[in-house]
C-alpha cells in the first residue's frame, strides 16, 4: 500500500465515523473561504474601479498651471507671474528626451453653444492633438479627435463631450453636424467616449467642448496657456523628469528650479500611488475580516482533530509498537487536517467563483432597472473580481490555518505513550 493511498483511506474511514462533524467543518471552511474571496474581490473590484476612474483623466500625466515666484532669482524680484506659452510645448519635447509627450490648452467658461434652437452655456477648451492620448480624449466610433492639420489650418472643428452631444443632438448622430460656438459655425468631428472620470479640473470632460488650440487663439485672442500637461515616458522617472521640466522652463522664464510656487503641478502619478496604497489598505482590512472567519473554522478543524486523536489512541499505540516514529504520526494527522482544509477550500473556491459571477450579472441587471443616479452609485462600487493574487493569498491562508489546526492535535498524538495507549479501549 502506498503512503498516499493509505492516508487517504485513513481520512475516508475517519470521515465516515464523524461524518456530520467533518461535514459541518468542511462547510465552515468553505464559508470562510467564500467570505475571504468575496471581501477581497469586492476590494479588487473597487480598486480597479478607482484606478480606472483616475485613469479617466489620463494615465501617468502631470498637470501644470502657471504660478507666481516666491524667490528672487538672478537679480529678479519675487512675485513675478510665470505664464506658459504654446511654444513651450515644443521646447520641452525638444529638450527633454525622456518625455513621452506634452500638450496644452486655452480655457473659457460660459461660452454660448448652440444647435438649432437649443442654446447652452458651456466650458470651451482649445487643445493640442496630444490630448487624445494624454487626456484620454478618445472618440466614439465614427468620429475622430483634433489632428495636426486642424491645428495648422485653424479649422473650425469641434470635439464634444458625450453629455454635450446628448444635450444638443439628443439621439441624433452628432458627427458631421454644424454647431455654433459664440455664433461661429463649427463642424462636429467626434464625440468623446463615455468614461468614468474621478480626477478632473475645470469640470468633467463629458461637459466640455474642445476645439483646436490655434482656432481658439484666433477666435478669442488667447496667447497664454491655462493648462500645460506632460507625461514622462516611464512612470518611475517622474521625479527626474519633473526636475528637468523645472530646469528648462526655469531657464526660459528665469525662475529658481527650487521655487515651489513658480509653477503649480498636479502629479497624478503620485495620486495613483496614494490610491493604490489606500485600496491595498482596504483590501488588507477586508482580508483580515475574512481571515478571522476562516480562523473560526480552523478552530473547528483543530477540535475534530483532537477528537480523532483520542479515538485513534489505540491505533497510534499499535503503530508505535510496530516502530512508527513520532514524526510519522505527526505528519499523518497534519495531512488529515490539511485534507479537511483543502476539501473545504475547494468547495469555497467553487462557491465564491459562482457567487462573484452571479453578483456581476445581478449588478448589471439591477443597473438597467434603476434610475441613472443609483446606477452610477452602483457602478462606483465596482463589480467583484477574483484575481490570481486573491486566489493565491486565500490558498496560503487556508493552508496555514489547516496546518496549525492539525499541528497541535498531531503533536499531542505523537507524544502518546505507546504502553498506555495499547491498554486504551
Amino acid at each position: 500500500m502506498s503512503h498516499a493511498w493509505y492516508l487517504l483511506r485513513l481520512f475516508i474511514s475517519d470521515f465516515n465515523k464523524q461524518r456530520k462533524k467533518i461535514g459541518l467543518t468542511v462547510m465552515a471552511i468553505a464559508w470562510g473561504t467564500v467570505s475571504i474571496i468575496l471581501l477581497l474581490s469586492f476590494g479588487e473590484g473597487l480598486k480597479r474601479q478607482l484606478v480606472a476612474g483616475t485613469a479617466g483623466m489620463g494615465k501617468g500625466i502631470v498637470v501644470v498651471w502657471g504660478g507666481q515666484t516666491k524667490k528672487a532669482f538672478k537679480g529678479l524680484p519675487p512675485g513675478r507671474r510665470i505664464r506658459l506659452k504654446p511654444e513651450d510645448i515644443e521646447l520641452v519635447k525638444h529638450r527633454i528626451p525622456s518625455l513621452e509627450d506634452a500638450g496644452g490648452e486655452y480655457q473659457r467658461w460660459g461660452v454660448a453653444i448652440s444647435h438649432g434652437k437649443k442654446v447652452i452655456s458651456r466650458h470651451l477648451t482649445g487643445v493640442t492633438p496630444s490630448y487624445e492620448e494624454l487626456r484620454h480624449h478618445y472618440p466614439q466610433q465614427g468620429g475622430r479627435f483634433i489632428n495636426q492639420t486642424d491645428l495648422d489650418l485653424k479649422r473650425r472643428v469641434a470635439f464634444i463631450g458625450s453629455a454635450i452631444a446628448k444635450e444638443l443632438f439628443g439621439e441624433e448622430e452628432a458627427v458631421g453636424k454644424i454647431m455654433m460656438i459664440n455664433n461661429i459655425p463649427f463642424t462636429v468631428i467626434g464625440v468623446m467616449i463615455e468614461k468614468n472620470q474621478m480626477g478632473m479640473y475645470s469640470g468633467p470632460d463629458e461637459e466640455k467642448v474642445v476645439i483646436p488650440l490655434t482656432t481658439f487663439g484666433m477666435m478669442l485672442g488667447d496667447t497664454i496657456l491655462d493648462v500645460f500637461i506632460y507625461k514622462p515616458a516611464k512612470m518611475e522617472d517622474s521625479e527626474r523628469v519633473k526636475r528637468e521640466i523645472l530646469r528648462v522652463l526655469g531657464g526660459k522664464y528665469k525662475f529658481d528650479p527650487e521655487d515651489e510656487a513658480a509653477l503649480w503641478m498636479w502629479d497624478t502619478i503620485e495620486t495613483t500611488k496614494e490610491m493604490r496604497a489606500i485600496t491595498l489598505g482596504v483590501q488588507i482590512f477586508l482580508g483580515v475580516i475574512g481571515g478571522l472567519t476562516l480562523l473560526v473554522a480552523g478552530v473547528g478543524v483543530a477540535n475534530i482533530m483532537y477528537v480523532t486523536v483520542r479515538r485513534r489512541t489505540k491505533e497510534i499505540g499499535i503503530k508505535m509498537a510496530m516502530g512508527a516514529k513520532a514524526r510519522y504520526i505527526l505528519v499523518e494527522f497534519i495531512i488529515e487536517a490539511l485534507l479537511i482544509g483543502v476539501l473545504g477550500g475547494f468547495f469555497g473556491f467553487l462557491l465564491a467563483g459562482v457567487m462573484v459571477r452571479g453578483i456581476g450579472i445581478l449588478i448589471d441587471s439591477i443597473s438597467q432597472m434603476v434610475s441613472e443616479d443609483v446606477a452610477e452609485a452602483i457602478a462606483f462600487l465596482g463589480k467583484p473580481v477574483i484575481s490570481v493574487d486573491i486566489a493565491v493569498i486565500t490558498a496560503l491562508i487556508l493552508l496555514t490555518i489547516g496546518f496549525w489546526a492539525g499541528f497541535f492535535p498531531s503533536r499531542k498524538a505523537a507524544k502518546i505513550n505507546p504502553a498506555e495507549s495499547l491498554r486504551y479501549e
Binding site: M1, S13, E315, I318, K319, A321, M322, G323, A324, A419
Partner: protein, 225 residues
C-alpha cells in the same frame, strides 16, 4: 551472548502521592533461540515487564541490554527503531488495524522500516504462506476468524526478522482449537531458531514451554530453565 539481559531492574510508577513499585530487582537472562514463558497472577507485573522488554516503556533503574545494546536509556525515536527492527509483538486482542487488509497489516512494520514496495510484497507473500493464509491477503480483520487474525498478527510480528517475538496472552481470546494451532506455530518458529517470550497465565501452555519465569508482586519467585 544473551539476547535479553536484565540486572537489578526496577520500575516505579509515581502516581501523585503514592509510589507503586511494579517491578523490583529483576534479573533475567534470555538466550538466543530460547522459548520462555512469563507467568504470574494479574497485578504481578507481567505487563510492565513485557512493556520494558518490548521497549514500549523504560525501567526506572537497573540495566536492560537487548542484543548487547543498553536500551534502558534510549530516546523515544531510537526506541521506535529498536521496536521496529528487533521486536515482534503479538497481542491478546490481535491489535490489527481494522480498515486495512491482512496484507496491509503485515506490510506496516516494513513501511516504517523504509523497505521498497517490491521487497515488501515479496516478504508479505512469504509470511502469508508461512502462517497458511495466502488466500486471505485481501481480507479485512472483520472478515477473519480469531485464529486467523492472530496468525496475521504473528506474520506482522515477523515482518522485519526481529530478534525476539514477544507475545502477550496470545491465546487469551481464542478457543482451545485455535489457541492450540497458534501455540503450534510458535513451536515451529522456535524449532526454526526464533527467540520467543510469551506471557500467559494458562498453565497448559506454560507447562509445555521449556523455560518459565514466575512473577509475584513484582518479584521473580521462581525461574525454571
Amino acid at each position: 551472548m544473551s539476547i535479553i539481559s536484565m540486572s537489578n531492574l526496577y520500575k516505579t510508577y509515581n502516581t501523585g502521592k503514592v509510589k507503586v513499585e511494579a517491578l523490583k530487582s529483576i534479573d533475567i537472562e534470555i538466550e538466543q533461540n530460547q522459548f520462555v514463558a512469563i507467568v504470574g497472577p494479574s497485578g504481578s507485573g507481567k505487563s510492565t515487564l513485557m512493556n520494558i522488554i518490548g521497549c514500549l516503556d523504560t525501567p526506572t533503574s537497573g540495566n536492560y541490554l537487548l542484543d548487547g545494546e543498553k536500551v534502558g536509556r534510549f530516546k523515544p525515536n531510537r526506541l521506535a527503531e529498536i521496536r521496529n527492527w528487533k521486536i515482534g509483538f503479538v497481542f491478546q486482542n490481535f491489535n490489527l488495524l481494522p480498515y486495512a487488509t491482512a496484507y496491509e497489516n503485515i506490510e506496516l512494520p516494513m513501511i516504517f522500516n523504509g523497505l521498497s514496495y517490491k521487497k515488501r510484497k515479496k516478504r508479505v507473500m512469504e509470511l502469508l504462506e508461512r502462517v497458511g493464509l495466502a488466500d486471505r491477503a485481501a481480507h479485512k480483520p472483520t472478515e477473519l476468524s480469531g485464529g486467523e487474525m492472530q496468525r496475521i498478527a504473528i506474520a506482522r510480528a515477523l515482518a522485519n526478522n526481529p530478534s525476539i517475538l514477544l507475545a502477550d496472552e496470545p491465546t487469551g481470546n481464542l478457543d482451545s482449537v485455535a489457541g492450540g494451532s497458534i501455540i503450534e506455530i510458535f513451536r515451529e518458529l522456535h524449532r526454526d531458531g526464533a527467540t520467543i517470550v510469551i506471557i500467559t497465565h494458562d498453565r497448559a501452555i506454560a507447562d509445555n514451554v521449556p523455560s518459565t519465569i514466575k512473577l509475584k508482586d513484582g518479584v521473580i519467585v521462581d525461574s525454571l530453565n
